[in-house]
């Protein structure tokens, strides 16, 4: 808290309903000038909805917002921008075909007197912003050529480019590795010194504890707790969030069965993967660790038949299988959970039931005409809903009305509905809160107990260490090594992933 203690933004009794479902109830919060306010809560607690109200995407059903002491109405994102509220969205909002500087100035282009774009000045300003962020991206690079982490950095640049008074960050570190997180945090501190107020939304308690000065906990659309950060521990925050005592985070690891069920030999994809080989045992959770762009997603997609491979053989139960399309992969008992939930995982315009049965739809068709049997479909969906604890008013609700965590559970249900023998889970807990994470860990664990083998790709060291029997570490499209048992620790994994020992890598 700054000594001035001035209130930048204040809300009075904000409520929000979506088709008569109350998402936010009577929200009264204060944001002080120059602070970093952490807002945390479970899936569907209403964090993103509240932020969308601040940034003009939604209008509240009732309640008032006061900004800089005056009552304001934020009709649309442009209105928010004019007030000085900038949001860093959870999902990317960049135009792939344009360059970095075009994107940063999209909608607020600098123009010459003649009305033409002043590209030189935009380039200069972009270069300066990028330098402040300590990222090495060329300002005239096309967005489509950037990695996920780099795109995130561009998003941050874009948000701060307009000299925002209030910057809202919606889970900015989900896709960053720890070095990039450090850079982000030092940038946030610098912004704070310059007087920018930041609302920081995250599931990661450690980060909230490290960067925020105060924390607001939301649960089921209500503010349940507000406190300065020094006075509360991580465990307390977690308990306030969930509203009950937390049990152990990771389920106990069960020993996999000895037989090798799945094997990849010398798999290569031009300019992406080089001679990747590994074995997977029945009931095993095999972790794939590495920095962003280590080629783990590409490996998953190559096995699943989405990406063409230039060489390599795949064996299922010792027999060679030729997989050229996702259909053939599914037929051979392999399924893939995409890390890009909205881009490749689920259909937001389809209902819960329609999403869950999409991959395995043939199993729900009966009679001579092969009509879909709705009853059977609903039954399966209900079963998954209960098993995965999916929070939805009904099975025929479109997925766009569910929160991110519940969408993720649907995505997981969808990929295990065809009863695969091997599941490639790519970032299975991305953008999901603590409680849902625990649930997902337990699901995956119980699935492996039933004989499923899992290729577990994750950028979160903790879950890789907590969940996996063995961990394959990749770097630049190659396997650098495999660790198991006691060797599975952060230091060893980072050493393999970066090729540098911990102490040396950090300045």
């Amino acid at each position: 808290m700054t000594d001035s203690n001035e209130c930048l933004l204040k809300t009075f009794g904000i409520c929000k309903e979506f088709s008569s479902v109350q998402v936010l109830k009577d929200i009264n919060i204060e944001v002080f000038r120059g602070e970093v306010l952490g807002i945390i809560g479970e899936n569907g607690a209403g964090k993103s909805t509240l932020m969308k109200i601040f940034s003009g995407i939604y209008t509240p059903t009732s309640g008032e917002i006061h900004f800089e002491g005056k009552k304001v109405v934020i009709p649309d994102p442009l209105g928010a921008k004019n007030l000085g509220i900038s949001i860093l969205p959870q999902e990317f909002n960049l135009v792939d075909d344009l360059t970095v500087y075009d994107n940063i100035f999209l909608g607020s282009e600098i123009r010459k007197r003649s009305g033409l774009l002043d590209k030189t000045r935009m380039m200069e300003r972009t270069t300066q912003l990028l330098r402040e962020l300590e990222v090495e991206i060329k300002p005239d690079e096309k967005i489509e050529r950037l990695s996920t982490a780099q795109k995130q950095m561009v998003e941050i640049c874009k948000a701060v480019a307009t000299d925002a008074k209030l910057l809202i960050m919606d889970e900015p570190t989900t896709i960053l590795n720890r070095y990039e997180v450090d850079i982000l945090f030092s940038l946030m501190r610098r912004l704070k010194e310059q007087g920018t107020t930041i609302i920081y939304i995250s599931h990661k308690l450690k980060e909230v504890k490290a960067i925020c000065s105060r924390v607001v906990v939301l649960r089921d659309g209500e503010v349940v707790f507000t406190e300065t950060i020094e006075k509360i521990s991580e465990l307390e925050i977690a308990q306030r969030m969930v509203g009950r005592e937390l049990s152990q985070v990771f389920p106990e690891k069960r020993a996999p069965r000895p037989e090798v069920i799945f094997e990849v030999k010398d798999l290569s994809v031009p300019r992406m993967l080089y001679d990747v080989s590994f074995q997977l045992r029945k009931g095993e959770i095999l972790g794939f660790a590495g920095l962003a762009d280590a080629g783990r997603t590409e490996l998953g997609e190559a096995i699943f038949g989405v990406r063409k491979r230039s060489s390599g053989r795949i064996f299922m139960n010792g027999e060679e299988v030729d997989i050229r399309s996702p259909k053939e992969a599914v037929d051979h008992g392999i399924d893939y959970l995409s890390e890009d939930r909205q881009g490749a995982g689920i259909l937001t315009s389809f209902s819960v039931a329609q999403n869950i049965t999409l991959v395995s739809l043939f199993a729900y068709c009966a009679s001579f005409l092969k009509f879909i049997v709705r009853k059977k479909e609903d039954e399966a969906a209900r079963r998954h809903k209960e098993r995965f604890n999916i929070k939805t008013p009904a099975l025929n609700v479109k997925l766009e009305y569910l929160s991110g965590g519940n969408q993720q559970k649907v995505s997981l249900a969808k990929s295990i509905d065809p009863a695969p023998k091997v599941l490639i889970a790519n970032e299975p807990t991305r953008g999901v809160d603590v409680a849902a994470k625990h649930e997902i860990y337990r699901f995956i664990n119980s699935l492996t107990e039933g004989g499923l083998s899992c290729i577990f790709i994750s950028s979160e060291q903790e879950e890789i260490i907590g969940m996996c029997h063995r961990v394959v570490v990749m770097k630049e499209g190659r396997i650098m090594g495999t660790v198991q048992g006691q060797e599975i620790n952060e230091e060893q994994i980072m050493f393999l992933a970066t090729g540098v020992h911990e102490g040396a890598a950090r300045r």
Partner: protein, 323 residues
């Protein structure tokens, strides 16, 4: 009780019933404006007029749900009908059996419909060319081929019977109208109750998700265009039978616009991913009634296009307001 009604009201998908409401309003307005409108003969006549492009609009619905478009339908109708009649005439000379010749002619037209639709689909999926471009090209190609084989004039059939079945009525309902209704029922079932229908919506909604859901996207799209081609030929055969001839320069002129308009007015978004078959039929009938009324009220035929254009834009505007 009150609450139940509220729940029921909320369940109604306004988007889906909008074309029915529009049709009802138009129907009442027309019967007030003109005493002749409600005569059975007039109503059946409207249905017959809209059935030809209406059938095509049903195939177009599938193509649009898949996220594509087919501009070639009108030209395809002209070309396929011409080839059908040429084949019929040839067989009449060779075999002398009228029924066999008719069957041969019709089968040729239908087969060509399947092939030409598949050609569009093949170029779009395998060639990875945008649907708009491919069908814009084939629109030009098939019209020019039709004009070439008919020397831009009429191709008459030598069979007397060929010209009768398209004019027949069953229980007072014209044959093409019956064909459109049967197609409507079958396609509704396919769209709502089969795997193909579900996949079609998935492909139109998000191709990448469809790929990752083990759906053979190319096959789904290919089938949509092939089906559209087949339906175009059914419509083309009915039309050529009606006149017992094909006017290569006139047949199917503007059908692509009428069909797309019917689909859009019926509530299927041009971006794909969802849509209804019945909405499209309603859309086609709405266009038909508007034309009929303009004729009855003595509005210049040259101005009818203006009204049609306004209705299309208005319909999309209203749909956008609801979203």
């Amino acid at each position: 009780m009150n609450r139940n009604i509220m729940v029921l009201l909320r369940r109604i998908q306004y988007e889906k019933i909008a074309p029915f409401v529009a049709l009802a309003v138009l129907f009442v307005a027309s019967s007030v404006l003109s005493p002749y409108f409600l005569q059975v003969k007039n109503l059946l006549n409207i249905l017959r007029q809209v059935s030809y492009s209406g059938m095509i609009a049903l195939g177009m619905t599938f193509v649009i749900i898949s996220g594509g478009i087919d501009l070639s339908v009108g030209s395809l109708a002209a070309f396929n009908a011409s080839m059908g009649i040429l084949c019929l005439n040839y067989l009449m000379n060779k075999l002398g059996n009228e029924y066999l010749a008719m069957a041969g002619g019709i089968l040729t037209a239908l087969l060509l419909g399947v092939l030409s639709g598949a050609l569009n689909g093949f170029l779009i999926t395998r060639g990875k060319i945008a649907p708009f471009i491919v069908t814009l090209g084939s629109m030009a190609i098939f019209r020019s081929l039709a004009l070439f084989i008919g020397s831009a004039g009429e191709i008459r059939s030598v069979s007397g019977r060929y010209g009768t079945f398209g004019m027949e009525s069953i229980l007072f309902v014209p044959v093409p109208v019956i064909a459109m209704i049967i197609l409507g029922v079958v396609l509704t079932l396919v769209l709502n109750n089969t795997r193909y229908g579900r996949y079609l919506c998935a492909v139109g909604s998000n191709v990448r998700v469809a790929v990752f859901s083990a759906i053979n996207v190319n096959r789904i799209k290919l089938i949509a265009y092939t089906l559209c081609g087949l339906i175009v030929s059914v419509s083309a055969v009915m039309l050529s039978s009606r006149f017992n001839a094909v006017s290569t320069s006139n047949l199917g002129m503007g059908f692509e616009l009428d069909a797309i308009a019917a689909v859009i007015i019926g509530g299927t978004p041009l971006t794909g991913g969802r849509g209804t078959v019945w909405g499209t039929i309603m859309g086609a009938i709405i266009l038909g009634i508007i034309n009929n009324m303009l004729n009855m009220l003595g509005v210049s035929p040259y101005l009818q296009g203006t009204v049609k254009g306004l209705v299309i834009i208005g319909a999309v505007y209203i749909q956008g307001q609801k979203a």
